[in-house]
Amino acid sequence: MNSEAASLTTLAITTLVVTIGCSVLFTAFFPKSKYLRYLAFVFIPITHLAIFAASIFFELSPLVLNWFSIKNLNFDIHLSFGLTKSSVCLVITLVLIFIQIPFIQLKSTTNKKHLRIQACLSVFSLIMCFSVLSDNLFCFFVCIECLGLLSSFIVSMEKSSTTESTRVFFLNKLSSIFFLVAIVLIATDVNSLEFNNVQAAYKSIESYPNLRFSVYLLLASCLCKGAQLPFSSWIISATKANIYVSVLLHTVTIVGIGIIFITKCYFIFDAVALSGKIMIVVGFLTAIWMGLSSVFHVDIKKIIAASTASSVGFMFIASGLGEYSTSLLYFVCHAFFKTIFFLSFAYVVYAVSGETNVLKMGGVKERIPNIVDLVWVSFLSTIGFPFFVSFFAKTAFFSSIFYTENKWMLFPTIFINIISIISFLRLIMLSIHGKTRMDSQALLHIKDITGKPLAPPWLFITIAVFGSFIAWSMYEWQVLHFGAYGIVYSRAPMEYIWGCLIEIMQVIIAILFVSEPTKSEKNKTQKTIKFVLVSIFKDNMISDFVSHNVYVAGRQIIKLLTLFNRGLNKAIDSSLSKFIELSSDCLCKLYKDKIVNQTYWVFLGIILCMSYIVLQEIYGI
């Protein structure tokens, strides 16, 4: 029985890898046929769905492959299936399928670059699935290394994206370096990288000298992958890539891998209490900062990317409170609703022939009625409208904050949520409604989607509603976890009614905040809301004193924040490229003038030697 199960696991994993390998090889032949592309990039993920679904019902034993070993320390690839793992993999693969379909439908002119991007996306989601299935620190490390490299290479496929892709590369490499050092620390102390052995070691953390430091390194790595505050610049840079790439990057895969790691290895972060506090503080700061900056960006992709980072901040807050299951539920629901939102705006961008600047859009409501419907439904599912996709996640999040000791945290989180709703409203108003700001040439090329291409997004919305419901019921049955559930409490049905009220209140507050209460008349409410929504963010049209002041104050805050952000980015950039170039220029000049010769290097080396000896003498390093 046992060997049978093991062989089944091997079969499943090899099928996954081989099919993806086939679809990658497939790009080399450069097929013009649409049906072949459907076969390679949609049918194969559907088989993966079947495999993951089957793995829920069959008990599959773990698969252990030895990569290499140093003495007794094994660096293994260790994968195992389970209910939660398989469900998360199902979600990831579902999102992949519904990204690939519009990609094939809307990019009708085949280009080798598009094929390559599609293959990259398939590989990307499979690696993400492996990271979910992994039961070993080394296996997880390989996954995050691959994801970081792949994401920077996908971004670099766009033209003139050197700084962006280098920033993505640098921050992802930094996070994997943190992870590598943590692995080395754990390996020298525990002499094993399996989760079980590591968990046993962290229970008696005081007896190991290095483990406390390794917690902070792992936390830094997760924060880096989750685009949290000191490292958040890469998520905005990554929007340089194709919009379909952004959908996958910013919803389920690389942004969420930190959360996946924290929920899988909760024992590491439970061992040191300070790590939870760091998570809460950083999560809060990021959520506020990125939420506010999403109100003031003008690029569609950047707006949604910033709001993603703020959502990930919510997940970090939940994890910091010890509510690992809630953060996992939020991750799953976020995958659904952010994909819907991003995809509907991918259709909008398609309709206006590739324009992503919201200030050059607007006034296309009558021309693209189908897409507008889609956008509004996706808006409802994103803001947490009762019994839509994100409702369960947000209600669970708020109520789990309510049940902890820090009840006051409810107000800032609700405030952040309101800000994100405002940013979404503004995005929709500016891009679709109001007066048009497009060129006359561009106006001619507006095209709505009709017929077959309309089916996949609606199908995905229905799947997402059911999927989030299933995820929520798993959460309520307390099976949605990788080992730690969080605070166990029973909810009364009343709470969900409260949740409905809170969500609706938030939407109303957001609209009130945006609109002018004095001028609104009953019969003209709709028009005024639209008018003001557009006008509040433009200097010349603001009449109301209050909204003007709010706007100015908000703008000042944002200016400060962006200055800080820019400084941070500049520091990263300059330390990378400009500093290197400048210093190399100086050194090259010296070198050419023969002031610096071999003797210089010898001299420098001697200085280093001397300083080492001095350090050794004083501090005994």
Binding site: W67, K71, L149, I177, L180, I580, W601, V602
Partner: protein, 473 residues
Amino acid sequence: MIELNLVSILILLPILGTVFVFLSANSTLCKSTALWNSAITLILSFTLLTMFNFSKNTIQYIDEYNWLPNYGIKYKVGLDKFSLPFICMISLICFLTKLWILKKKIHKTKYFLAAILLFESFSIGAFCSYDLFLLLVFLESTTIPIIIMIFSSEKNYSKNAVMQFLMYGMLSTICITIAFVSIYNSCGTADLLQIYKHKHLLGPIPFWLLIVGIAVKIPIFPLYYWLPEVHVQSPTTCSVLLGSIALKFSSLILLRILFPVFYDQIMQYTKEISVLCVISMVLSCSNIFMQDDLKKIFAYFSILHMNMCMLIFLSGIGLRYFVFSLLSHSFVLAMLFFSTDAIHTVLQTRSIVDLKKNSPQLVLIKNIMFSNILILIGVPLTSGFMVDIVSVYASYKLSAIYATILVFIILALSTYLFFTYQSIFNQLKNKTDTKLEIPVGHLQINSISKKMVFVTISTCILFLGIFSSKVLM
């Protein structure tokens, strides 16, 4: 009656090949003769790999004949499990260099090919020999073919390189020779297996002399200046042989003499040697940032990588990881230097500034550079990834500071290389930039033999990366 084992045949075959090369009439015949010769050597070395008994811990295939019986010096060759992979690597890379120059015009073809064959023979001999003086003779004879190769290149300024190479080489030769003679005097025998038994008789002087000798060959900090100069000014085949084979003679001395004989001294002075290694890593990394020539970048990368191997050796986690990282270094360097040659034949330049101006026109160069970058960064499934992990682990065993320095070097280097690659191939071009005229020569790279070389080396790197547990066993 003389009975020769397969090992001796491996040493003698390339020498026989040189005779045939000198006898053959024209240059194409020369090339094919040399190619067939080393193909046979390659096949023989891989049959050795299948026939070898890895479970035994002793020397196998021993050939022993008296050479200078008055002094007790013998011709003694054999194989152990550490030298066998090196021999396969040497024969493979020599075969690939000949395959590479198959369709290429070279100056003084006969001398050049004879030099490669002689180099192959001597280096295989050095890795097999179990006699102190035989080892010395083989080791020092390898400098002659390299000098011939540098001289046979058409450039005028190669005199400087030869001078550098000779000066530093002489230093290491003198040190190693004196050390060997003193070992011979105090032990009274030249047989390495006998010396292992008499190691308590030896003083500290030969140890330090040998350390200086290998510090030139690795190269470690104060003595590393010659390597980039020689690499830049020598022809590609020469730098491939130099980078992937000649640097490994340092590891030969480490494995054959220093590790078994002077084990206690190495353990005693680990700290001092490893400081030098880390310093040379830092210096070579900082040197990479300001180079314009691709070959110089790769040469400094080679220094960095060799010092990482040294750290693995010094940490004492196991000799097999040391050997593995050296093999990885060989294949990676061969790949890098072959690709610089490919770029040079197409664009007639190796400068990054020139590449920035006109390379995006060629998909071929982009692909070559892309594979290079993947290898240099250490993507999972390549051997560099494993070497990175093992060297960080090893350096942490030595000291936490070394691990931090190494990690930052890896981070800075990979980011710099990625940035350089992106700025070459992914920047929007100004129309005012002058473009170099591309000669028809780029068709040369499309020949099957050159593609074969790239495919073979990258398969080797992937094999080392994926099946590393089997290689390590």
